[in-house]
């Protein structure tokens, strides 16, 4: 039986608004959303449009009931932190509203996933940035986390790609940003005057803590590849060819500094279509269709890399443009003593790698398949100032990872940083120190928890930046040395959510 319920009158009112088939507090429905150790929701609501979302939010304010909206609910941030919370499942809000080809932007509702959006825009010769975790993520640049990915070097990321949007504030107003309000158009979400984009997200989104985002537009980018994803074969062995004027390589370098130099130069020369600093374990996991296969591939290929590496895809607008980009890339790699990994360069494999990173479906293989569910210590990340600084931070943490491997707390994997990227041809950087596949002993668990705290301490004391920070505890930790931002963020929360009902365990509360 469910341990908590919402107010009966509220439930009845929600039935009136949504129809009884779109609201449930039945235990089987509740348990179907329960992720790992989180408390259960008290009820689940399925609105179909913004007006219904607004009505739900206003009702929750009337009955002083906490609520939390999510789309695909991948991850603990979709869960409540306390009991008695109404989940607003945006599953029925799953339309692509508009694709504007002339000005290259697309407008979606929250339950459109990136694979769907990318497929539609590819048909039209365009591409969207995709969250690195996977194209199974919501295509709203306001959904979860940062909305950074492998394509961000050329296709930017959520905080920057966002244009117009529609927002149901925590206390039930509807804000239609920018041109949307006056013209019904999504091409600009800034103004008039100051931009509320500054309130609704930062380098990460509020993840349910600041009302509900019901529509958003994002920039699109050029795509010169085929109009349809070309994979042949049967799952999980899809095979693709590298399209004309594209090239994919995994380059490895003798030292972290040379890798950094290469990535910075590739960014600065603006030749990269896709680039991600990946260690070899991420590459083998991407290709492998099972953990066993990944272990075998890693065993074969880990000894063959001279050091940390990155995957690079270049794409030419024309044969000449491709030739130029290739010349530049090869020169840079030569200058930095990089070598190409045959595993990725092999024409039998190259196409598959290219497409699995262009439409990342493989992040699940790279991170979640190993131990399933969580990721051991998870993604420990710092929000970027710049790439070289982020690189320093992950290198500072690498010895801890090495120690864990030595002690048998995690499986043998590369200690090179697994996720490093540059955005917008070098005008931004991001790194993550993932530790996947942990042993579930008390000592290992403690070591992982300690590691999370150590990484935060290193980030603060080393002045590297803020982490993937959410929740009061982390904001209270990072806030004081970081211009006391947490006090302002609390003010934002208090101002827009005076009743404190947009459940904020992954955001910040308005506590004094």
């Amino acid at each position: 039986m469910s341990l908590n319920k919402i107010n009966k009158e509220l439930y009845k009112a929600l039935e009136d608004v949504l129809g009884p088939e779109n609201i449930s507090e039945d235990p089987i429905v509740i348990y179907g959303y329960k992720f790992k150790m989180a408390p259960e929701f008290a009820a689940i609501a399925l609105p179909k449009n913004t007006k219904e979302v607004q009505t739900i939010v206003r009702l929750c304010n009337k009955y002083k009931t906490k609520y939390k909206a999510a789309s695909t609910s991948w991850g603990a941030y979709a869960d409540p932190g306390v009991l008695g919370v109404l989940k607003i499942d945006l599953r029925r809000m799953n339309r692509i509203i508009e694709i504007n080809e002339k000005n290259m932007y697309a407008v979606v509702e929250p339950y459109v996933i990136y694979a769907q959006l990318q497929a539609e825009v590819m048909k039209r010769g365009m591409l969207c940035n995709v969250t690195g975790a996977g194209s199974n993520c919501s295509a709203l640049p306001l959904a979860a986390h940062a909305n950074l990915g492998q394509l961000s070097i050329s296709c930017s990321w959520g905080e920057r790609n966002l244009l117009g949007y529609e927002w149901v504030t925590p206390d039930g107003d509807i804000v239609r940003s920018g041109a949307l309000e006056s013209l019904g158009e999504y091409f600009c979400g800034d103004g008039p005057g100051p931009s509320l984009r500054g309130i609704i997200r930062g380098d990460q989104t509020p993840m349910g803590g600041l009302g509900v985002y019901t529509k958003a537009a994002q920039k699109l980018y050029p795509w010169t590849g085929p109009s349809v994803f070309p994979g042949e074969g049967v799952s999980p062995h899809y095979v693709s060819q590298v399209p004309p004027n594209f090239m994919i390589r995994y380059y490895h370098f003798p030292s972290p500094q040379l890798q950094e130099d290469a990535m910075m130069k590739i960014a600065e020369t603006e030749i990269g279509f896709l680039m991600m600093g990946f260690n070899i374990t991420m590459v083998t996991a991407n290709m492998a269709t099972s953990n066993r296969e990944e272990r075998e591939l890693t065993k074969t290929w880990m000894p063959q890399v001279q050091g940390p590496g990155c995957v690079v895809v270049i794409a030419g607008n024309s044969a000449g443009d491709f030739e130029y980009k290739k010349m530049v890339l090869e020169k840079i790699v030569e200058e930095c003593n990089g070598k190409s990994l045959p595993l990725v360069e092999d024409p039998k494999n190259a196409g598959g790698f290219l497409y699995r990173w262009t439409r990342p479906t493989s992040s699940i293989r790279e991170c979640f398949r190993v131990g399933g569910g969580g990721m051991g210590a998870g993604a420990v990340s710092v929000s970027a100032d710049n790439y070289p600084l982020m690189h320093k931070w992950v290198l500072a943490l690498a010895p801890y990872k090495a120690d864990f491997i030595k002690r048998g707390y995690v499986y043998a994997q590369s200690t090179d940083p697994p996720v490093m990227q540059l955005m917008e041809h070098g005008h931004g950087g991001h790194c993550e120190m993932l530790i996947t596949g942990t042993v579930k002993t008390p000592e290992a668990n403690k070591a992982m928890m300690d590691f999370m705290e150590i990484s935060k301490k290193v980030a603060i004391e080393g002045h590297f930046g803020t982490g993937y920070v959410w929740g009061d505890k982390d904001h209270d930790l990072f806030g004081p040395p970081t211009s006391n931002y947490h006090l302002w963020l609390r003010k934002v929360k208090k101002t827009f959510d005076p009743n404190g009902l947009s459940e904020a365990n992954s955001y910040i509360s308005a506590k004094e």
Partner: protein
């Protein structure tokens, strides 16, 4: 009201002025905004001065109006909106604080102008994304905070570019640093670690730089900004394309930006291009204008450190294919204008007199953001409005700047007029008001509301205005920061 002596204690007596002529110069600008005389002008030297001034202003409920550019001013945003205001003139804060070649960043104070910044960056092999021919006295920080469009759309990933982080003293008197500059640690500690205040977003789950931009000083006073730089090209090949058909021009613009082949890229009508290139009016101006087609597209193909000749040659080849498909011809000169002269001109601020004032002495700009589908309709509508108002459309300047990598377009109409001629000035003023309303219903989004049309603009943005008022209440609860502007 802050007492003068209190201000003098902070900035020194020479940096506080109540001279009538000085006050007069701040009470009015070229716009049609009502003239309001400030109470005094104070010139802070650093962030600490500013913090103290804001604290005093809060205690005495004195309105503050920040200004960082020198004259002439155009928009009315630096004219006090109410009496008893103190002008906080930051134009003397001219430090270029730090240049970071590795991360392509620069940090500087509000008084730095483009003319001061460009040569310093050039020494490091870098350049700055500029608006079209800013006036010499234009503050770079001011321009970025106003979200002025820049002429290199390929480098305009987001409407906030090239702004990075800022240090701001909010209306509450609190100092805050946005984005990566927030910390952890002081700026110096961040530099020591390798920080460059590059990332504008954050810290964490908000991006306050965006509510400071576009705020016309109503949230706080910026004491420095960091901004993105690009590399200085080794090789440049500029081109002009002329046509009477705007649609064809925009088709070519689409492909040039989509392929990211070009740096500078914008469209002018013949009036504006002639105005920019002419030194003598009306003779030379008319000659140049007569030699030009109605629309002129300007773009520049550049090569950098790696294989610059190869890049330029490949991209010229590809560009010509695009031009051919659009039925256009790229050339190095059209009429009396050469592409290389124009390139040289647009890579620095305008020479004096400011180009918009050369012809008749004054100019009223009507500008907004729109998308490609609506461009022709809007131009047509404005032409009709101008003619109907007795302002010959043929004398109106038009500037089309694709922005946000062509996700949208800045469209600007420049109404040149003689400020000594009340009839002409009145005509322009009325035209501006009427045009704003008409253009709004034809697809114009006025993202940067100034002057008399502000209320009209906000009347169509009720939900945004309501939310912005909540934001204002957080950062300036006593409404001392430039009150009466925007929707506040």
């Amino acid at each position: 009201m802050i007492e003068e002596k209190e201000l003098a204690k902070i900035v020194g007596t020479t940096n506080v002025s109540r001279e009538p002529e000085t006050l007069k110069s701040y009470s009015k600008d070229i716009s049609f905004v009502n003239s309001v005389r400030p109470e005094c002008v104070v010139r802070p030297g650093n962030a600490d001065d500013i913090k103290k001034i804001v604290k005093l202003a809060n205690e005495t409920r004195t309105p503050l109006v920040p200004v960082s550019s020198g004259e002439p001013h155009f928009r009315g945003d630096t004219i006090p909106g109410t009496g008893g205001a103190v002008m906080v003139d930051l134009s003397g804060m001219k430090k270029i604080i730090r240049i970071d070649r590795l991360n392509r960043m620069v940090m500087f104070e509000p008084g730095v102008t483009y003319g001061e910044l460009i040569p310093v960056l050039a020494k490091e092999g870098m350049r700055f994304s500029m608006p079209l021919l800013p006036r010499k006295t234009k503050s770079v920080v001011g321009s970025m905070l106003e979200r002025e469009p820049v002429v290199m759309p390929a480098y305009h990933w987001d409407i906030s570019d090239p702004l990075g982080c800022v240090e701001v003293v909010f209306g509450t008197g609190d100092t805050f640093r946005t984005g990566a500059a927030a910390g952890p640690g002081t700026i110096e500690e961040q530099w020591e670690a390798g920080g460059a205040q590059q990332e504008a977003a954050g810290p964490t789950q908000f991006s306050l730089y965006r509510v400071i931009q576009g705020a016309q000083g109503t949230m706080g006073i910026v004491t420095w900004a960091s901004a993105k730089c690009e590399l200085l090209p080794r090789l440049e090949e500029p081109f002009l394309v002329g046509s009477s058909q705007l649609d064809k021009i925009m088709e070519m613009v689409y492909w040039l930006i989509r392929t990211r082949m070009v740096n500078e890229c914008f469209v002018l009508n013949n009036t504006n291009l002639a105005t920019i290139m002419a030194n003598k009016f009306p003779g030379e101006y008319q000659d140049i204008k007569n030699s030009l087609p109605p629309w002129i597209l300007f773009f520049n193909i550049a090569g950098y450190d790696y294989f610059p000749e190869k890049k330029v040659s490949v991209h010229i080849h590809d560009m010509k294919e695009i031009a051919q498909r659009a039925g256009l011809e790229p050339v190095q000169a059209i009429g009396k204008v050469s592409a290389s002269e124009l390139l040289e001109a647009v890579q620095r601020p305008s020479e004096d007199p400011y180009w918009k004032l050369r012809g008749k002495g004054a100019c009223e700009d009507i500008f907004f953001i729109t998308i490609n589908d609506k461009l022709s309709g809007l131009v047509s509508a404005m032409n009709n409005l101008a003619d109907a108002a007795g302002y010959p459309a043929s004398e109106m300047g038009i500037y089309l700047q694709p922005i946000v990598q062509n996700a949208n377009c800045h469209l600007e109409f420049n109404l040149f007029y003689n400020p000594e001629d009340p009839a002409e000035a009145g005509k322009v003023r009325e035209l501006n008001t009427k045009a704003t309303k008409t253009l709004m219903s034809n697809g114009a989004f006025f993202s940067r509301p100034y002057g008399e049309n502000t209320d009209t603009i906000y009347s169509s943005h009720a939900s945004t205005a309501a939310a912005l008022k909540r934001v204002k209440a957080m950062f300036d609860p006593n409404n001392i920061m430039n009150p009466g502007k925007l929707c506040f």
